[in-house]
Symmetry: C2
Subunit: 346 residues, 2 copies
């Protein structure tokens, strides 16, 4: 029921019609198939013996068909028949281990709790789902992006080994779901902006000033994502204490060197700002996220502490790992990460 082949990304036959179908099916079948499919392959992986990751593992694609009525190996389900492809499963298992994600917790986060659909914060046509515990983002990616990620994996492995503390996206899985004539590919990543912490401002920064203003439509949203020129207008800049500033700069330089080495150009820095002086959130109003699993180096503060001592656990519960900053007289917590790295200009 499961076959393994190399280097095939399984281009969908009706890829162009995807988004239309996708919209129609989002609420139920897609979410369900993602959860069921990932649950099946990750659960299956648990039974495989742990062994070293080899170069070839990066190009492996495992494929399984999950018919509606079930089979010897797969459960019956209420969605149309679908096929799930799991890319480089052993490599991604290694990455999850590197970040202390236990297989059962990964399964639980993705499969046993409802996924939350997010509105798209960026310009891409991607769909985003967030796990209830705030840990993982499931994002749809284009065929080309999935292909690029797979090519990136050996270099990405090197980077993670040398820098588990990084602001680059952390990729925990890459999957493809083929269902009644359409194909979607999803990547499971770390979540940069914890839902439990209200972001009073959100920026997508590219370090460019050309057309970098949020559209009128974006501004009308309840939680708009602003851009570079808006940041200049609204915040001018932020103040960090010198140790934090140096750690942040060092991390960004290191991360950008990796991106440059792969000729990746069109990425952004996603920046969320929580203003501490605003009326604090009552304990009750916070969701119960971050209670269970806690991925290593997943918060903004942990991501930049290469040369700094570990943060005192004290108070982490209240800051959700945000980095203390100031703007004029306001005390802030900032949350940030590099996003949209899967488009290479080559």
């Amino acid at each position: 029921m499961s076959d393994t082949n190399n280097d095939s990304m399984g281009r969908g036959t009706q890829g162009t019609k995807m988004s239309k179908h996708h919209k129609k099916l989002t609420a139920s079948a897609i979410k369900g198939a993602i959860q069921l499919g990932i649950g099946y392959v990750v659960g299956n992986l648990n039974s495989k013996p742990d062994r070293d990751v080899l170069m070839q593992d990066f190009s492996v694609v495992e494929s399984v068909f999950l018919p509606n009525e079930g089979s010897n190996l797969t459960p019956a389900h209420h969605f149309p028949d679908f096929r799930l492809k799991s890319y480089a499963p052993l490599a991604f298992r290694y990455f999850r281990e590197l970040f202390g994600i236990k297989p059962d917790d990964y399964l639980y986060s993705i499969c046993n709790e409802p996924l939350i659909e997010l509105s798209n914060p960026g310009a891409s046509s991607s769909w985003f789902y967030l796990t209830s515990d705030d840990e993982f983002i499931i994002k749809t990616v284009q065929h080309k992006e999935a292909e690029f990620l797979q090519k990136l994996l050996p270099g990405y492995y090197m980077n993670l080994n040398q820098n588990p503390r990084t602001l680059l996206p952390k990729f925990y899985g890459l999957y493809c779901i083929q269902c009644s004539g359409f194909t979607i590919r999803v990547v499971v990543m770390n979540n940069i902006l914890p839902r439990a912490m209200k972001m009073h401002y959100k920026y997508d920064l590219k370090g460019s000033s050309y057309k970098r203003c949020a559209s009128r439509k974006e501004r009308a949203k309840s939680s708009p994502t602003f851009k570079d020129l808006d940041f200049k207008d609204m915040h001018e800049g932020l103040n960090l204490d010198s140790e934090t500033y140096n750690a942040l700069m060092k991390t960004l330089q290191r991360d950008c060197r990796v991106l440059e080495s792969f000729k990746i150009m069109d990425y952004s820095l996603l920046l969320g700002i929580h203003v501490l002086d605003h009326k604090p959130l009552s304990r009750e109003s916070r969701c119960d996220s971050r209670k269970g699993q806690k991925v290593l180096y997943s918060t903004a503060l942990e991501s930049i502490q290469g040369s700094m001592k570990d943060p005192e656990p004290l108070g982490d519960d209240d800051t959700f790992g945000g980095i203390p900053a100031k703007y004029k007289d306001e005390n802030l917590l900032i949350f940030l990460g590099i996003i949209d790295i899967l488009q290479s200009y080559r």
Copy 2:
């Protein structure tokens, strides 16, 4: 004076005449040029800032010309003008760091103490030099082998990261010296058989019985290298305690999986046997090796202890990291490592 280019292995124009020239020059110019050249590039590397290793670093070749009369950057010397190429210098620096080799110690071992010329233990036409402190072997390699090693580096990096304890060769540097019309390429590796410990038996094992007898010429040597059929005749087998046996088997399986993944077939297990019950060496008769630098995971015992606790430092001085074994009533120390992995059948 130094230029960097990618993917060029610098094939020598008169490569076929190399061994003849080489023989003539061995004692003086070649050894001197190796020491001077490696000294120059490793010393130069010290001044470069430490940064992460990127995928591209594996294919870098740095080249420097060292004229006899010296230059602004290079010292004068007594050998003919020569050019030194250093392959993937940042990657090899990373490997050396991984094994706790300090740059100054590496330089000192290779450059400041005389190199010892070894007789060739295998079938290849390679030349071997050993550093005075017993730590490093400098081996000449064919153009194809050097090219293969460079291609192997990303996968090799992955393996070292996951298993610093391995019986695979540890590569610490790859260089090419071009001098008055001939080219030699050398790789710096760990030394498996410490000179300070007399090997009463030496085997090159391939797990094959076809023509695996040492030649009459080999047997006539003072310290011959025997083969599989000789091992069956002379030792039948060796006894290890079960914990050591399991650790050794696990390491060999893991290492062979890596070799298999690269389609490497023609490697050997080099096995040195020291018989403890023989008249022990007097302290005086031992050379003063292993006094200074001590490379991590470099001894046979350290190489196989993946799941075992670290060996007690006690007694290590007397065993040189050999693995305790028995043959009939004799107490042995065995020394072993996988060699000759740079020939791929592809």
